[in-house]
Structure formats: C-alpha cells, structure tokens
C-alpha cells in the first residue's frame, strides 16, 4: 500500500514538475508569479483533445499541437497584457495574470462546456512489479517528463539562449549592458514555458478527465512545488514537485483523500513560516 502510494506520488510529482518549472522560469526571467499556469495547462489539455479526438491525430502529434497552441497563447498574453504592465510592479502583474487565467479558462468552457472528456487512447492492462501496479499512462508521463527535464536542463546549461535566460534572471540590467535583449528573451521564455504547460496539460489529461478546472485543481500544488524549491530555481522546482507529489499521495495514509489538496497548502504555510526562502534560494519576506 505504502509502496504503491509512494510510486503514484512520484508520478504525480513528475506531472507537477513541468508546470512548476514553467512557473519558476517565468518568475526568474519576468519577476512575477504567473497565476495563469493552471489555465494554460487546461488550454493544453483541450488543444490536444481537439486534435486527438475531433481530428483523429495520434497522441504524440496532438501533444505537439498542444505545446504550440499554449506557447502561442503565452506569447499573446505577454504581448498584449504582461509587457504593457511590466513597469507597474509585480502586484499588478499577478492580478493581471489572474485576469488572463479567467479568459483562458472560460474560452475553453465556452467552446467545450463543463463536461468531462478523455483522450482516445486504447485501454491497457497495468503492469505488476514487486506488488506495485504501474499504468501505461504513468509510464508515458514519467518518460515524457524526464525527457523534457533533461532537455530543459541542457538548454539552460549549455545553449546561448539558456545562458541569456539565466543572465536576465540574475540581473536584467547587467544582461542588457552585455547586449542580451530582454524583450527577445522574455518572448522565448514564454514560448518555452507555453510548450511545457501544453505538454503538462496533455499528461494531466491522460491522468484524469479533462474539464475546464483541470488546471485549477493543480494550481496550489504547482505553487507549493515551486515555492518549496525556492521561486526562480529550476532544479528546486523539480525537487519540490516530487516532494509535493509524494506528500499528497502518501497523505492518504493519515487523512481522508478529500483533503489531499490541504497538504500542499500546509506545506506552503509551514515552509513560509520556518524557511521563508524555500529549499534553494529566493526571498519571501518583505522589508
């Protein structure tokens, strides 16, 4: 039982890792908490659903379409909302991201209604290994996320774009002096973050049914993961996501499963009280 929950927790954690990474990257480069992560994840799930179910595309192709769609939405939101409000400080930006979140969520609701939907995938028998039940979906989720994380890590570490992103995150003014264009980096970051959220949406849609609140239901866990890792720290976000995933699933041993989401909230509160900077970096307390 505990082993099964632990395994499920790791997969949930991997699923959370992508949006948590997306949140932390935006926070690092653009310096605000993007409350639209959940809604963008929802958009990704629906984009893939349309491609997969309505147009009969294979799931891999649908995932690519989802990534492109959400990247596009991110770029649009950046161009028409966030960039114009950049000078107004992070509170305005985070309220604006809440507005963007409402728009995206309700565009999905307008076209697809409140009904639950699922991808057109063949049912498959779970594998048993050492008494732990492993679903095909869980394997897909784990492999996809690990590949994505390796790619993003390589991108941040070794490519000029990654270096530029880290430079802007570290000190935008200094980066500008060295000829790194903040605006271009911001756009590329949104594209990358959108792609990650789109994929996360597809994986979430594999894990549970797709409805307009699918992303919102992950929202607090995503934030808990990113805060746990220290907002702005990519590796921290991944570690935080794994911790939150395991903590949420394992909590079933001690509290009713209805209250699973409370775990994330409790983790955020405890963390902010006792270690306000997260596990790796980032300052939370104000002056």
């Amino acid at each position: 039982m505990a082993a099964q929950l632990f395994f499920n927790g790791l997969v949930t954690g991997l699923l959370l890792a992508l949006p948590a990474l997306a949140l932390t990257l935006i926070f690092g480069v653009l310096k605000f908490a993007n409350f639209a992560v959940g809604a963008m994840l929802t958009l990704g799930a629906y984009a893939a659903w349309v491609a997969n179910v309505q147009f009969g595309a294979p799931l891999v192709g649908s995932a690519a379409i989802a990534a492109v769609t959400v990247a596009g939405a991110g770029l649009l939101a950046d161009q028409f909302a966030f960039e114009r409000l950049r000078q107004r400080g992070s509170i305005t930006l985070l309220v604006a991201s809440m507005g963007v979140s409402l728009v995206i969520e309700n565009v999905c609701r307008f076209f697809f209604g409140n009904a639950s939907r699922g991808f057109d995938v063949a049912l498959s028998r779970p594998i048993r290994w050492q008494g732990v039940r492993i679903n095909q979906e869980q394997i897909t989720i784990a492999i996809t996320v690990v590949v994505c994380l390796v790619l993003v890590d390589a991108l941040l570490r070794f490519t000029p774009l990654g270096r530029a992103m880290r430079a802007v995150a570290d000190n935008a003014a200094l980066a500008a002096v060295r000829g790194v264009e903040r605006r271009a980096i911001a756009r590329l970051t949104w594209a990358l973050v959108g792609a990650l959220l789109g994929l996360a949406g597809v994986l979430a849609g594999l894990d549970r049914s797709i409805d307009p609140l699918i992303g919102w239901n992950y929202q607090i866990a995503i934030f808990a993961a990113a805060i746990l890792g220290g907002l702005g720290s990519p590796i921290g976000a991944v570690l935080g996501a794994l911790t939150i995933g395991v903590a949420e699933e394992m909590s079933a041993l001690v509290i009713p499963t209805n209250y699973r989401q409370v775990v994330s909230f409790a983790v955020i509160l405890a963390l902010l009280l006792f270690r306000a900077n997260g596990l790796l970096g980032a300052k939370a307390a104000r002056k």
Binding site: F32, A33, G89, T92, G99, E105, N258, S264
Partner: protein
C-alpha cells in the same frame, strides 16, 4: 422584470460589500487577497448556521467576528511575506474553506447546502409584500459599511495604511508598527466580507458550496480595479454599474437562444478577466481615482500606481 431588477440590486449590494472590503485590504493597504471567496463563504455559513437559533443580528455579528479572527490569524502567519506568496497563501485558504464546507457534512450538509435561512425583518417583509423591506435592509447595510469604511479611510488609521502601501520602509522608520497595522486592515476586511456573505445567505435563504467559487474573488478584483483602488466612492459608482451590467447578462439567456447557459456564464467570466486586464492597462486609476488629500497634494511625484 421587477424580480430581475430586485435580484440584480441585491447581488450588486453583496458585490459592493465584498468590493469595499477588498478595497480596504488591497486598495488602501496594498495587501493582495485572492481568498476573498473563503471569507464570504465563512460569513454565509456561520450566519446560516446560527441565525435560526440566535436571531439574524447576533448571527451576523458572530460571523463577522469569526471571519475577522480567521483573517487576522491568516495575516499573522503570512502578511510578512512578499505579495506573490501572500497571494498563493490566500488562494490556498480559499480552497481549504471550500474543501471543509464540501466535506464536513455534519456541520455544513456538504454539497446539499443549508436551506431555510431566516431573513431579517421577515414578518415586516411579509406584511409589506415582495422584497421591498429586504432591499431597504441591503441598501442600509451597504450605506452603513460604506460610511464606516470611508471614515476609516479618512482617519489616521487609513492614512498610515496608505503610507505603508506606498512605502513600508519609510513608514516603519517613522515609528509605525507596520506588521500590526497590516494585520488589523486584513481583519477588518475579513469581517466586512463575512457581512457580505451574510447578506447573500439572507437573500437566497439557501446556500450551497457551488455559490462560493473563485469567481466571487474575481468580481471583487474587477470591482476594485474598475472603481479605482483606494476610492470607496469610485467603488460604489463604477463597480456597481459594471456589476449591474455583468449580472444583467445572466438573464440574457431568456432572450438569446443561440448560446446556452454554460456558454453565457463562460462569456461573462471571460469578459471579467479581459476587463481586469484591459482596465489595468488603459485606466489603472479606475473610474474615480483615489482622492488625494492635503499632504499628497504637495508631493506630486508620489506614484499612486503601486
């Protein structure tokens, strides 16, 4: 048609109360609260549970006190945090309240909700007929809260909150206890949100968890941004007209047959989202900007867009 107008008027009163509360917390004191709906729900449920036993006024006061205490507690835990963190903590609080209401059947009847909540002045209301008495009650409540909050905004307390919002470091250096003042602002806001919840419960006489979604929070933010942050008058004039328009679309479904109810509500909420973003970009000072008072007149460069 009259029934529609009455409903809209009451919903606008509820929205105005929530807006006034958020205007104190966010507009005046600069504290983001994304968990507005949680406090409204606490107010509604506490009132609904107590009113049959102790009468409407004590129930409402206890609800307000309870919400103020919880609000102060949350503030004590999290208000030192930078706004990004405060925002997520308050969202989390709202979700926890929702989960508790949904799952603690013995207290809240879960998804079934609570019915037969007694209205204030019910006998008088029946004697006069219709919702006339209740509307007067709702308007009086809004007027009372408005006067209290406006007096507060003009008092030294309001002044120092604005100072904290604009520059907490300077205010602290002037010897003000920034932490305690922020907690107090948050607690007062929480109490007013609970009163809004009580009014909501009194009007519908039936509450269930489905009535308290994050949309309530979005409405409140829209109201504050539209009205002009920090300006209670702006909130009442501007926000009420916008709320009335938005609420009015609720009844469009009787006339428009091309789109169904779900689509209509999606459209309404999407418009609120778009409205929030557009107003922030195009008219950050809102319909009526915060009145600048004497000292501020001398210091033109003090930014008020923070």
């Amino acid at each position: 048609m009259i029934a529609y107008l009455v409903t809209i008027a009451i919903l606008v009163c509820v929205a105005a109360l929530v807006g006034l509360a958020l205007n104190l917390q966010w507009g005046l004191a600069g504290l983001v609260n994304f968990g507005v709906v949680g406090f409204v729900a606490i107010g509604a449920y506490a009132t609904a549970l107590l009113a049959p036993y102790v009468g409407w006024l004590p129930a409402m006061l206890v609800a307000a006190a309870l919400s103020a205490i919880l609000s102060a507690g949350l503030a004590l835990l999290s208000i030192r945090l930078e706004e990004n963190y405060l925002a997520i903590v308050t969202i989390g609080f709202g979700e926890v309240v929702r989960l508790v209401i949904l799952n603690e059947d013995w207290l809240t009847h879960g998804a079934l909700g609570i019915a037969d909540i007694p209205r204030p002045f019910a006998t008088l209301g029946q004697a006069v007929g219709g919702d006339t008495v209740f509307i007067v009650f709702a308007l009086a409540l809004v007027a009372l809260v408005f006067c209290l909050l406006e007096a507060m905004a003009r008092s030294p307390f309001g002044r120092v909150l604005r100072a904290i919002r604009d520059d907490a470091t300077v205010t602290a250096a002037l010897g003000k206890n920034v932490f305690a003042l922020r907690v107090r602002a948050f607690a007062v806001g929480g109490a007013v949100m609970a009163i809004a919840g009580a009014l909501h419960a009194f009007y519908l006489t039936y509450i269930d968890p489905g009535q308290f979604t994050p949309i309530v929070t979005a409405y409140a933010f829209m109201a504050v941004i539209a009205g002009g942050r920090g300006s209670n008058v702006g909130l009442l004039i501007g926000a009420c007209s916008i709320m009335a328009l938005l609420e009015g679309t609720r009844f469009l479904k009787d006339f428009v047959t091309v789109i169904d109810g779900v689509q209509l509500s999606a459209l309404r909420l999407g418009l609120i989202g778009a409205g929030i973003v557009l107003l922030l970009i195009l008219r950050p000072q809102g319909i009526a900007s915060e009145p600048k008072r004497r000292a501020a007149d001398l210091l033109h460069d003090m930014g008020e867009d923070r």
